[in-house]
Symmetry: D2
């Protein structure tokens, strides 16, 4: 099959994926499924992989390369293992990015991302920048009728990360409450739509990019700010003393220490983007009684819910399409922010 | 002041309220507030009062009549007691129907309707079918700018009853879940809008009246049923085995024993309307693991939330206006279903 | 292997299980596990099976008999299927009674008992009144060190049914709240210990049997009642107006319609026992705003939690031991209440 | 009346309170209550007041001194305002430390400590190191029979701070989960007892003081650590990868940055003590998906619950008694840790 493979890590990202013919994957366990890739989302994590950020975790022995990235996949079932019952050849599916075991206690609590025995196609093993890739039955959700893989592939990772944060936020928000979203990019624009769908709160969208602010407005944000130096004061004015919830999709460049100052007494900051360090006085935490918590990729049931919102027309992914042969252009455009929303590779 | 007073109970409701001049109320305690009535909603409870249904509870000694009904009130603050700090003369307000004490443990838990020492203007004491009525500071919510009393008065009781049920439902509903609303009248149409605002679920609206079904469609119900003899089977088909939540705004005439049969394994029936008896095998409760629970008038904070949804344009009350002099016509039209939505009296 | 098999249904239960030599089970799927039975609890469900109550559900074609009952099993792993990773031969285990699929949405939400594709050893297929029985990897929990199968087998079903109800109750109970337990038998005595362990509420134990009341006292119930004709009034006196939660382990013989009258405004009745019909006015449900809900067998994670409480010495099963050859005596003693706590069969 | 008054702030705390005769307080509003002080707890906050830490907040104009500290009060109602209904002269009461308004939205949500219009006797106004002090009806809880003020006074502030954290923790803990308590002093020993009463988790108590570790053992901690340099590793060993919840009663001296490293994937750190700064990589927050949140003084309903646990014998305050004339000795002993548990002043 055709695939794009990474041959070298490079902190400066001056590498090209090689488009080449490789052996297609084969079933080796009863719960495995081969998926014919319909579309695979490009993710900031892919850039980090190329930079070598994930090498210590995913490739400690240095034996992984060359390999195929791509962890935001949707397509059609090509072949199933002997124990698979819930899908059959030809079914259109989206793939939760993590192959969880279903047996460990974390899996039993539904927290697939905490699985003690998980595998991550596209990170520690071959992924979806190819014609086929292999995953397990537990990762698959059948697409609703009339939904095609390319419309939804990035929901598999970017989408559920945003949705999980939005869902956790919604539990804390009442009508009349305010939620700040920092960063209306690939994740933020999904969080915005999700919040509107599942919560009656008011949304304050913050982004330094004019194009992102236009998108936020189109998607119905109640207030839109440009994230200038007065942003804390602006949020305080709008909210009468601070937001009930702030979701930070940036998590670095100083944003991480602006965010907790926007939170109202008793409120919550969810940190989704990362890179920086939060430095907060315990006295502030206690007297304001605020919470600061990380939020990870969503679990399987959250992907199910997001697909339902998508099927109902309530959450849509904005994307730009590239074919597999152009993946290096796509990566280049991504690094240089030449497209809005999400880039998607079609083999 | 002018007021409409009830002089007799009559199971057949062949009574006329007398429009007459009576003494205006005066402040007798530091927390009291006199409200100039802007609008007062007509409620099925008013019909029940006339029938004598509430006499044993609210008028056991038979000393209440003649008195002024009207418990869904909004207007302007006319005069405040010496201890009142949060409102001042001229403020536009909506009035939570129950005067709670703020001291008992139920009040401290925010459950105003469970208050050990509450009073109910319009039931056990004079209410708002008059130019003025008296309530307490704890009952008042200032209206958002640009909101007028007549647009919102029935939210004070009908509205929060519907909203409370919708809010309890929303906690149990995920995207992709189904909620059945039985009865799209004064309460049901508020529940429908509330659910849309705070939950990503799918809504199945059921009503025997064509006009109510048209309203349900206008308000965005996902499925609309006429409540015929196959309704349980129709719900089962749409939902793939039963609804996650059913809200019954009827509660009598046999509907009460259809509702629990629509509930899916692990699901919930909220009963808001009443009159009938539920008869359910314990084996069904256990094997299906369903819940059946009553839902009462909302508390103060729920009225605050509903007013925020209203201010944001997400929930609107449909109403027909009558002036106080025509209140007997209004009651007659109500009994004979000559208007849709809610009837509102303006003094 | 030796096994006790049922050959006939009989509403009067005048049947004897046959102790006979049968073929031991063999692995036929990669996730299967053969367990050498250490102990198998006797359950009221076994009596119901003999009576034929479960025939329409579990044996609609009439092809099941002769078969081996026994669904409350603990023992040692004897043999594992090719895909099993989490246990190995020799491990001491307790077996969740339901073989859930791990794939359907209910399983993904952790609600094993709602599984769309489940199997029930001891009901619709051979169970544990034998030397060996077959189940699946997903059903198994390794025993903590120093715990033996006989001490815990009935926790696998009776235990988690009681624990699930206690856990749901605990979420609704604060220090100073009251919980009524009706029936301090095999389930009730586990619920009592569980509630003490996980909640700071006060417990009112009700049982008509003096021996059960003694047990309740030993286990630390705060109040003990004999369930006589004044029980509603007695509960109202103790609680100052009704219990916050009532758990009914009887569910028939009129108890089911006493229970909801003991519930305080805003409170909850959990129905665990069954057989009778609840008949309640919707007006009572609404005005008192009470909830009535069934409670089923606990899921896998609840069995994990109960085993932890057991390992910590906080919950212990009271039982009487019988060997497999005496199983008909055990059934007879059970029918005639000749033992307290739970009967356990040892092959 | 006799009172101990503070005349000067001093960062070195070289000041003596003056025991002198001052005018007793008088009722000036309908909701006020004068309490004859039975006992008043000494608090670290009192030391901070003397140091001047609270001057910017509570005494910005510098007009407060001389004044009477003491915010952990219990005693007997001496006189009530005209609007007070729930207590009468002679009632034994404990006093929630904050006089909340009961009207603002925060009060309506039951979060008394967030009240927009609150007052804090013993901080910004005279408190309980005197024969009498003045508070409001909303602050009072009647003592259960047989409970005397001296046994419970510090529960009014130290107690509910610990209880609130324990209650928030309990919501996150299952049987088999681990909770670390750092600091088994005045607050920690209440948290330990509270957790045991309301949760089935396992408790790891950490304290550098041998006497505190002995107390932890007496109160039933499951594991006891001395907080040496290997404490993170020790906790990881016991818990198999980190605690589900950590409660930090220290919050300074470096402890604050040890605590979040003890938290397991998906777990929570509650910060109660303060003084230091938390410095945490956003990457750690996200990948481990942990939460870090401050926890404040409990609200009124939490004090009610704690008093119920106390009445049931499940939570007891350890204290040392001083009479009012010896208050400077008490302060000195407190600064030099000459007593364990809590110091209590009796006028
Ligand atoms: Zn990604
Ligand atoms: Zn797993
Ligand atoms: Zn009404
Ligand atoms: Zn009626
Ligand atoms: Zn009250
Ligand atoms: Zn059983
Ligand atoms: Zn399943
Ligand atoms: Zn204090
Ligand atoms: Zn200090
Ligand atoms: Zn307040």
């Amino acid at each position: 099959m055709k695939a794009a493979r990474l041959y070298d890590y490079d902190p400066k990202m001056n590498v090209q994926l090689k488009i080449e013919e490789v052996k297609a994957p084969t079933i080796t366990a009863p719960d495995e499924v081969i998926v014919r890739v319909g579309a695979a989302g490009l993710c900031r994590t892919d850039l980090h992989i190329i930079e070598g950020v994930w090498k210590p975790t995913m490739d400690p022995e240095g034996t992984l390369l060359p390999y195929i990235m791509g962890h935001e996949n949707a397509g059609w079932v090509e072949e199933i293992g002997s124990g698979v019952r819930s899908v059959k050849r030809g079914d259109a599916v989206i793939c939760h990015p993590f192959r969880s075991c279903g047996i460990c206690l974390n899996c039993r609590h539904g927290e697939d991302m905490y699985c003690d025995n998980g595998q991550f196609p596209g990170l520690g093993m071959n992924g979806g920048f190819a014609e086929y890739f292999i995953t397990s039955e537990r990762s698959l959700i059948k697409l609703n009728a009339n939904v095609t893989p390319i419309e939804v592939a990035p929901l598999a990772d970017a989408g559920i990360t945003a949705y999980r944060a939005a869902k956790r936020a919604a539990k804390l928000l009442r009508p009349g409450s305010y939620c700040v979203l920092l960063g209306i990019g690939g994740l933020g624009h999904i969080a915005l739509q999700s919040l509107h769908a599942i919560s009656g709160c008011r949304i304050i969208a913050v982004d330094r990019e004019p194009a992102a602010r236009v998108l936020a407005k189109d998607l119905g944000a109640d207030f839109i700010l440009d994230g200038g130096p007065n942003v804390i004061e602006e949020v305080s004015q709008i909210t009468g003393g601070g937001a009930h919830v702030v979701i930070d999709f940036v998590g670095e460049l100083g944003v991480e220490n602006i965010c907790w100052k926007m939170v109202r007494k008793g409120g919550q900051l969810f940190v989704v983007g990362y890179g920086g360090n939060i430095n907060v006085p315990t006295a502030h935490l206690v007297i304001e009684e605020i919470n600061i918590g990380g939020s990870l990729v969503g679990n399987f049931t959250e992907l199910v819910e997001l697909m339902e919102l998508n099927a109902d027309g309530k959450v849509k992914m904005h994307y730009t399409e590239y074919n597999l042969a152009s993946i290096n252009t796509a990566l280049d455009d991504f690094k240089n922010r030449r497209f809005t929303g999400r880039g998607v590779i079609v083999p």
